[in-house]
């Protein structure tokens, strides 16, 4: 009971920390907007007399001192108003949210591949460390780390799209709208378009996860309860899957969650290679065309994703496993 209360206290403290980090990110976004964005030029172009500019500046409240402007920005942000994109002339948050499903489904596909492949491969490497197959898997995964993700994508496109012509190379294919969510997972064409990008993105996480599963399993296999389970006659497969793996999964999920920033960066690269119409692709377009409101909104959104996953991972792993973190809670 005491541990539970302590856990709740920890969760509350983590929430406050997360809110502080989000506040800092909003401050940075505001600073970037004030320094780089000129809403007047975005609205009226360059060739407008100064008097008219001053009038509009006053009307929009842009001549107010910066604390007032900051308060206004934060007030808007809380209500989901982050300004208007200069390219699309629509609210920036709306544009980013419209692109979110594409990125999410790409990450989902890649995670599925990582999950399905890394568990058996990692378990195999842990229980048969000297087998040729295990060495082969670890060797190939070292090579996988050496190849930059965009080259993996380009080589996959060269082989499967250009030479063999089996799979499409660009875009999301046919999509279906489910309310606000535009999905490519429900059409055959959409799924075919997902295969290469998802494989590419998984290639960068797979080596890491195989190693993680392997070392987590190696740790667990040395414990007494494994020997007990073996002694009472449980089959090896049952010992690996239902005893050892279950204990190894939690730290794995934690490490996976903490890789969020890296995952977003690699998703951005993958989206560029495959012209996948997700958030990363949108961000680069905004950068090329200097759409400051869109750029800053993306930063806030990505920051939010990062903060939310980190907070969740920390809190959940503490609540699920009271052994860890009691000292690290402060």
């Amino acid at each position: 009971m005491r541990a539970f209360v302590a856990g709740l206290g920890f969760a509350a403290r983590r929430l406050i920390q997360a809110a502080l980090v989000m506040f800092a990110i909003l401050l940075i976004a505001f600073a970037v907007r004030s320094a780089l964005g000129d809403p007047l030029r975005e609205i009226m172009g360059e060739a407008v007399p100064e008097a008219e500019r001053a009038e509009l500046r006053h009307k929009l409240g842009l001549d107010a001192p910066w604390p007032v402007q900051l308060a206004r920005y934060l007030g808007g942000a809380v209500q989901g108003d982050f300004g208007t994109s200069t390219i699309y002339k629509r609210p920036t948050l709306e544009i980013i949210l419209a692109k979110f499903p594409a990125s999410f489904e790409l990450v989902l596909g890649a995670s599925l591949i990582v999950f399905v492949l890394s568990l058996p491969a990692g378990i195999y490497c842990a229980v048969r460390p000297r087998a040729l197959g295990a060495r082969l898997i670890l060797g190939v995964s070292v090579l996988g780390i050496s190849i930059p993700v965009f080259l993996t994508g380009i080589f996959l496109i060269t082989i499967f799209a250009v030479w063999l012509g089996w799979l499409p190379a660009f875009g999301r294919g046919e999509t279906i709208r489910l309310g606000p969510w535009e999905t490519g997972l429900l059409t055959g064409d959409g799924l075919r378009h997902l295969i290469l990008p998802a494989l590419t993105l998984s290639s960068i996480m797979l080596p890491l996860f195989i190693r993680l599963v392997r070392s987590a399993m190696l740790d667990e296999l040395g414990h007494d309860y494994v020997r007990t389970a073996e002694a009472k006659g449980a089959s090896p497969l049952r010992v690996w899957l239902s005893h050892t793996l279950r204990n190894a999964l939690l730290p794995l999920a934690a490490i996976g969650g903490l890789q969020m920033g890296t995952l977003i960066a690699y998703t951005l690269l993958t989206e560029t290679v495959f012209q996948w119409p997700g958030m990363g692709f949108l961000f680069l377009e905004a950068v090329t065309r200097a759409d400051i409101p869109l750029i800053t909104t993306y930063l806030v959104f990505v920051g939010l994703l990062f903060v939310v996953t980190n907070t969740l991972v920390d809190t959940v792993s503490l609540l699920l496993d009271p052994r860890i973190g009691l000292e690290g809670m402060r």
Partner: protein, 306 residues
């Protein structure tokens, strides 16, 4: 030092070469690349950064072993008519240069902080360790992408091109210092407890002299290993940023820029502009990684064979 002295005391380099042939192979491959790149102006048939030295009419020529090629261009030409072989030599030069300078910055920040944290302990240690944790939890690549994206939005594409090399070096350098700091800290903690450090202190060595002259030389081997690994990371980061259009400009292509500029032409059949620089990049990374692995095996006493 005379050769006699060298022979008597088994030089660490010599024993390393004898017990770990992998180090020699990886180092020679890298050395060959470094030489080719250092003498690029003498080897390359043209200056790929000089817009006057090539002609857009030559654009998209295939490599010399394919049909329709031109003997002047060993590996063909890129989308601007640049000789690909020259462009690769100069591009690899940029990749290596950014890698070396970025790692130098990482070491310049990380090693002193790590030494200080490991030697002083207490509050200093806590602050440095915490800062390193925070910096590492923000992904390097994401931070670099955001930093360069903001520079690009502020300066415009052309100015970004002019300052690309120093910007890349600084951004990649600053983002990755914690690896050096952690390694230096851990090694310093081990060394600081040893007798020679206590002896030096008893003889009146000052804190900074002690860290610099006595501890640093003794923690050099793990730092060298980290440097090799960080080098590979820095080269990948540069290539990725240039591929995204946030690094080296088309007028001064690095390997990443070449891969990107060729990518637009790949579906028109001109695969070599992308694939050949891509293979060079992978070769470079594999040899840097192999050197790092070999050095780690050779320098880490726990892994030392028999």
């Amino acid at each position: 030092m005379s050769t006699g002295a060298l022979r008597k005391s088994t030089s660490p380099l010599r024993s390393l070469a004898a017990s770990h042939p992998g180090v020699i192979i990886a180092a020679s491959v890298l050395g060959a690349i470094a030489l080719a790149v250092a003498f690029a102006p003498l080897i390359a048939p043209q200056d790929p950064f000089d817009l006057k030295s090539f002609d857009v009419l030559d654009a998209g020529m295939p490599p010399s072993w394919l049909e329709g090629s031109d003997k002047r261009f060993l590996l063909g030409t890129d989308a601007q008519g640049r000789d690909l072989w020259s462009a690769i030599l100069y591009g690899t030069r940029i990749s290596l240069m950014v890698g070396i300078f970025a790692v130098a910055i990482q070491a310049a920040i990380g090693v002193p902080l790590g030494l200080l944290a490991g030697y002083a302990g207490g509050r200093v240690d806590a602050v440095v360790t915490r800062a390193a944790d925070v910096q590492l939890s923000l992904s390097t690549l994401m931070m670099a992408i955001i930093a360069l994206a903001l520079f690009r939005a502020a300066l415009g594409g052309e100015s970004l091109g002019r300052f690309a090399v120093p910007l890349l070096v600084v951004v990649i350098g600053i983002a990755e210092w914690p690896h050096f700091a952690r390694t230096a800290r851990a090694a310093t903690q081990v060394e600081a407890a040893k007798d020679y450090v206590r002896a030096a202190r008893a003889l009146g060595a000052g804190t900074f002299g002690l860290m610099w002259r006595h501890i640093l030389p003794n923690i050099a081997s793990p730092l060298i290993v980290i440097a090799a690994m960080q080098m590979a990371g820095a080269i990948i980061a540069e290539a990725a940023l240039s591929f995204l259009g946030l690094g080296m400009p088309v007028t001064k292509p690095s390997l990443g820029t070449l891969i990107r500029s060729g990518y637009d032409l790949m579906f028109a059949g001109a695969w070599w502009i992308t694939v050949i620089p891509g293979l060079v990049l992978i070769g470079l990374l594999v040899s840097v990684n192999a050197l790092g692995d070999a050095l780690r095996d050779a320098l880490d006493p726990r892994r030392r064979a028999g």
